[in-house]
Every structure is written in structure tokens, then in C-alpha cells.
Symmetry: C2
Subunit: 342 residues, 2 copies
DNA sequence: CATCTCAATGTAATCGTTTGCAACCGGGTT
DNA sequence: AACCCGGTTGCAAACGATTACATTGAGATG
């Protein structure tokens, strides 16, 4: 691999001038500049980022840690981040924590050695502790908030989305609305849960804890939880489910199918986060859509702005709006044969 | 960030001993070693990978370029690669070419500056040219083969899969089997196409070029192609479709639905590559499944083996087997009302 | 014509590590 | 007592870029 020494030698100048010709064109005479540039071209010279980073103390690299790259939601976040970073001349280093604090810790340590100039992270429940190892590096938390002090956050309007979802079900006439909620220590889960509860209350419906089950964000958690909710005795079984994340929604839909419940006739379902799957499943799923790709780009823009002009002020919190997309998995509840006239 | 100098100073040794204590424990007296290690621990020392790479000329980094991280197939490849790389102490640098040779070129250039020790790539049609910039770096082509000389390849058994898919449809009694095939210059597309053709021939069926349409691997290509095939006059319309990749299959299914064709009664469909979507769509899709994650890990193992023991022999070609999974999107053709008695 | 100025270039230090080589030391051998 | 040996350690040179500072030379100024 050609080094700048080779370029300098071929162009008959010192490495200093060669370097300047390439990165500070106006500091060198035009004739020499040409000589250097053509030498570089001839040798296929590509600057050694490693050496440059070492000298300059800046790597033009940002770290990215998501919890599950196989989840299309995260894949899309990652793509938004990478595209935006690329536009600004930064390289994004992508890691996976698999929702496991220990893996997150390892990712952070590996990252640290690479001297990232900033970090965008979808935090696990251990993030608050793990992130202490990275003091001095600007951090943007994406999608969730771990409560780490001083970090900028970029999230979706979870409350608004959950409120809209719950109101939608209420307006259709549902009174027994179940919810499958994510981990208690993940901000998105609690926000959605709180909003659901508030919306019920605002409509004068009672909040029934028996209709709310926790899950660990994965498909089988959704499956298990849905199975329990949907096998309650007929008069207590929820006629609608609001499910707190995309993966669990898949599990819940499959559980409903396994029980031979028709959607939406026997059970209305609203999921959180739109996806290819939600659009093409049968029937198409009513969901709260998030601006996923934009969440990624927004986080990146924020981070890079911060790298350019280091802030002192309090950390910022950006919230992108969500949209309820009504498809065909929701309808008025099917009133059971023996009319229940109050 | 604490450097090795700080550690050395705190432990009252030279940087040389500090370095050795950390990376060549047996070269230093146990008491000094302890002193250094505890100093390192106390300072939270994390070696600067950049400086180390510069000195050693090896970065313990491998580049990864896939064509579309949003495609679950590629996301899974990426995960397989990252997990395996991690196990061997390598860091994977992930890039996206978006199926665009120019972007692939840029990714390679960026990568080059980071001095990756090897590259795993799902090549675009321009790869053969683009890869010349990386001479000297071991390369493994994954999923597809660009024809670049000297590179190791790790692919799925496309021929076997396509053969099984076609035979399955034939054995059900279909005689007009259409195919939507990927780009001509991508090896997976041509292999699947050739096998399909051969299987038809072996069964004594004629290959009808009008039933074979090309697509660019994306959903809307599949949609468009399927629309054209399925609106052929009744007696020429295919009763079954074999579709050459996962994204296009989505488009084709949606096209069939738009035309109110029932699957499998009016149209049998076999897709290539399994997915969550294929399993949960209605009806569940018959597919040729690929060992996606394993393709990723296999590629990584191959690459790392090569880094350890540089080869001179001819490049190796590994092929992982595929499996036909029969679900409910395929059935015998529905004989039209006016019996077509031979 | 001496001096000053400024643009263009070169010299060499620097970033944090690793590592070849030399130095040192204590103990065994001759 | 001189020598050697092997285990520890330190000194200093790399790696490839950038950049503070020194140098050069040509043209402008007095």
C-alpha cells in the first residue's frame, strides 16, 4: 500500500508538502500541488486513517450500539445512522448488544480502544452503569432513555402513540383492552404503559392489572403473554390488545391464530412500530408507526452538531412524532350472543 | 484516557515492561506483572487500538460489505459474521452498498484507509472491478460469486434449491411454471434460473421464455413482473411461480392478492430464502430455506483461517446446502371449469 | 543595496504502542 | 577470578500521517 512517503518521493517534495498538497491545497504552489496530486493518483494513494487518527487525536468515527440488528426496526435505525454519518464524512462502527448488558459492556470496551468521537446507543437496562466507562465522549441515546445524566436523547413520541392507539380502541367501543408491555426498566415500555393507563382513565374505564402482562420484547414473550390473556374466561377476556413492540406483536398474532380467534372479529390488535410484516399480514395490522429511519438520522445530526460545537448547556431531548395507522386488525367488539344490556 | 505511559509510571517501570506485562505476561517477573496489572486496572486502562495497529501493521479488523442491511437475509449474514469475528477477537466493520457499484466502490475506499486484514463481501455487479483496489487483502465472497480471480467463496446450494423447488411444483402437476429471476450478472440469479430450466427439461416440460421475467431483486420488481405474468390470457397464465429472491416474493404475493388470485388455489408460489414474513403470511409460504446465519459464520471462519495461514493453493469454494420447506402456498393446479381433457 | 516580508517548502517532533537490541544482574561453571 | 547464561528490564526506533517551527528565496520597500 502506497504511503505518503512514496507520493512525496515520486513528486520530488518532502512528505510535509505532500501532506499539505492533499489536505490544505491553498498552502502549496499550484505547480507542486499538481505534481503531488498526479503522483498520488498514479500510486493509488489512500491515506492511512490509522496514522492520521493517531496524530490528530480524532478518528472521524462514531460508535453505534443497537440491541438487535435482526429486528427491522433496529436495522432501519442503523441504516439511517450510517447514511447520515457518511454524508458528514464520519464512519460508523456498528455493534450489537443483543439486549444483554454484559455484551453491551464488551461492545463499549472494544469501541473505546477505537477512540470513537461519539456514541449513538439504544441502551440496555445496564447502560447507565456501562456508559460511565466512556466519560468525555458525547453520547446520544436513541429510542430509549437510560437516565444516564448529561446525554442527549432522540426518541419517538411514545406517549402520544400509545394514547392514540388506546383511544382508537376505546372509540371503537372496546372496554376490556389488554396490553402486553415491555421490560419495566426500559423507558419506551413504561411510557407506553403509562399513556395507555391514562387514556383508559380519561375515558372513564377502569385499569385492570390482570389485563396487563409484561414481556421481554421478543416474539415468544408476546406469544406467551397473549396466550394467557386470551384464555381468560369469556367475560373477562380482552376484546382488544395493544402490544408494546413489534416483535411481541408477531407472537401475539400467532397466539390468536392458534386459538382460532379471528382478527378483528374476535380480537382487535394494535401494534407498536410499523413494518413490512404488519402491512402484508392478514389482515393488515393497525399500528403506531414511528419515523424509524429519521430517528437514526436525527440522532446522527445531533451527535455531529455536538462534535462540531461542544455544548455546555443542559442535554437536549428530541422527540419525533408517531402516527396511528388504522388498517384492518381493529373493529368494534363483537357483542356476544346473550346481550349484556347493562 | 489513560495511556500505557501512565500505567508504566504508576507501576514504576518503563513503557516497554508495561506493554509486555499486558500482552506477553510470561516475559516479565510475576511481581512486576502484578504491579503493572493493578496499575492498569486502577487507571481503567484500555489499549489504544489505533496506536497498536499502526505499530504492528495489523488491525484485527475485517471489512464487511453487504448489499442491503434492511433485507433480513443480509442482516442475518451480518450478525453471523459479527458473532464469529467477535469470537476470534476481530472487529467487523460493516458497510452497505445498496446494490450500487459506485457505493460499493466508496465503501471499499473508506475501508482501505482502515487497513482491514480481510474482507467479506456480497458483491454487486461492479465488484470485479472494484475489488482490484484491494489487492493483497484476503477476500471472501459471500452468497454470490463475482468471478474475481483468487477469491474464496461461500455460497448456498442455489442449484439444488432451485431444482427442488421446481421439481416440487412439477410433482404437484403444474406444467406452466413461471419464474421471476434476479439480475443476469448476479451468480445466484443465473444459477437458480439454470437449475429451474434444467428441472423443467428433465421432466419433459418445455421452457417458455415468456414465463420468465427478470427483476432487480427488490419488492417492486417482483410486483411488476408478477403482474405481467399473472395477467396473461388464462390458457397461458402460469399456475405456479418460482421466485428468485425474498424481496421479490413479497411483491409477487401482493400482486397476486391485488388480482384476487387465491394462493394456492389459483396460484402456487415458491420463494427463495425463508423469513419471519414467509412463515407468518397467509398462507404460510413454501420456500427454499438457506442457512443464512451459518453462511455468515462460515465466511468468517474461512477468512480468519486464511489470515492465520496464508494460502497459496487455488481459492476454495464452499457450498452450504439449502432445504425446501413445503408449507401451504403450493398445491396441485386448480383445473379450470371446462375440462381440458388431454 | 540592505532589509523586510511573505509565500513556499523542508526539518523534525509528535501521537501511543510494540519490539529489536543492549544492559544489567545474580549465580553457576571452569 | 573470569566467564557465561538466562531471566528481566530499559532505551530507542519504528509505524504513517500532521504540523509547529525553521529555512529559503524572491520581490518589495526604504
Amino acid at each position: 500500500m502506497a504511503s505518503i512517503q512514496d507520493v512525496a518521493q515520486l513528486a520530488q517534495v518532502s512528505t510535509a508538502t505532500a501532506s499539505r498538497a492533499l489536505s490544505r491545497p491553498d498552502m502549496v504552489a499550484s505547480t507542486t500541488r499538481e505534481r503531488v496530486l498526479s503522483a498520488a493518483r498514479e500510486l493509488g494513494y489512500q491515506p492511512n486513517v490509522i496514522a492520521r487518527s493517531l496524530r490528530q487525536g480524532e478518528t472521524r468515527t462514531i460508535g453505534v450500539i443497537v440491541t438487535d440488528i435482526l429486528n427491522p426496526f433496529h436495522a432501519q435505525l442503523a441504516k439511517g445512522i450510517q447514511d447520515a454519518a457518511d454524508r458528514h464524512g464520519y464512519t460508523a462502527f456498528l455493534f450489537n448488544s443483543d439486549e444483554d448488558p454484559a455484551k453491551e459492556r464488551r461492545a463499549i470496551d472494544t469501541l473505546r480502544g477505537h477512540l470513537p468521537q461519539g456514541l449513538i446507543i439504544v441502551p440496555t437496562s445496564g447502560a447507565r452503569e456501562n456508559l460511565q466507562a466512556l466519560s468525555g465522549v458525547p453520547i446520544v441515546e436513541l429510542d430509549r432513555m437510560s437516565g444516564t445524566p448529561g446525554v442527549t436523547t432522540v426518541t419517538a413520541d411514545n406517549s402520544g402513540g400509545a394514547t392514540a392507539a388506546t383511544r382508537h380502541l376505546i372509540s371503537l367501543g372496546h372496554t376490556r383492552i389488554g396490553m402486553i408491555v415491555g421490560q419495566q426498566d426500559i423507558s419506551t415500555a413504561t411510557q407506553r404503559h403509562d399513556a395507555y393507563r391514562a387514556a383508559l382513565k380519561a375515558a372513564g374505564l377502569t385499569y385492570d392489572p390482570a389485563l396487563v402482562l409484561p414481556g421481554n420484547h421478543r416474539e415468544d414473550d408476546g406469544h406467551r403473554a397473549a396466550l394467557r390473556l386470551l384464555t381468560l374466561p369469556e367475560h373477562r377476556r380482552p376484546t382488544a390488545l395493544f402490544i408494546g413492540n413489534n416483535e411481541m406483536t408477531v407472537g401475539a398474532v400467532l397466539a390468536a391464530r392458534a386459538l382460532n380467534l379471528r382478527i378483528p372479529e374476535d380480537l382487535s390488535i394494535v401494534g407498536f412500530d410499523d413494518s413490512r410484516w404488519a402491512q402484508t399480514m392478514n389482515p393488515p395490522l393497525t399500528v403506531v408507526a414511528q419515523p424509524t429511519y429519521d430517528l437514526g438520522t436525527c440522532a446522527t445530526e445531533q451527535l455531529i452538531a455536538q462534535l462540531r460545537h461542544p455544548r455546555d448547556g443542559p442535554p437536549q431531548h428530541h422527540q419525533l412524532s408517531t402516527t396511528l395507522i388504522v388498517r384492518h386488525s381493529t373493529s368494534p367488539p363483537h357483542t356476544p350472543a346473550p346481550a349484556h344490556s347493562h
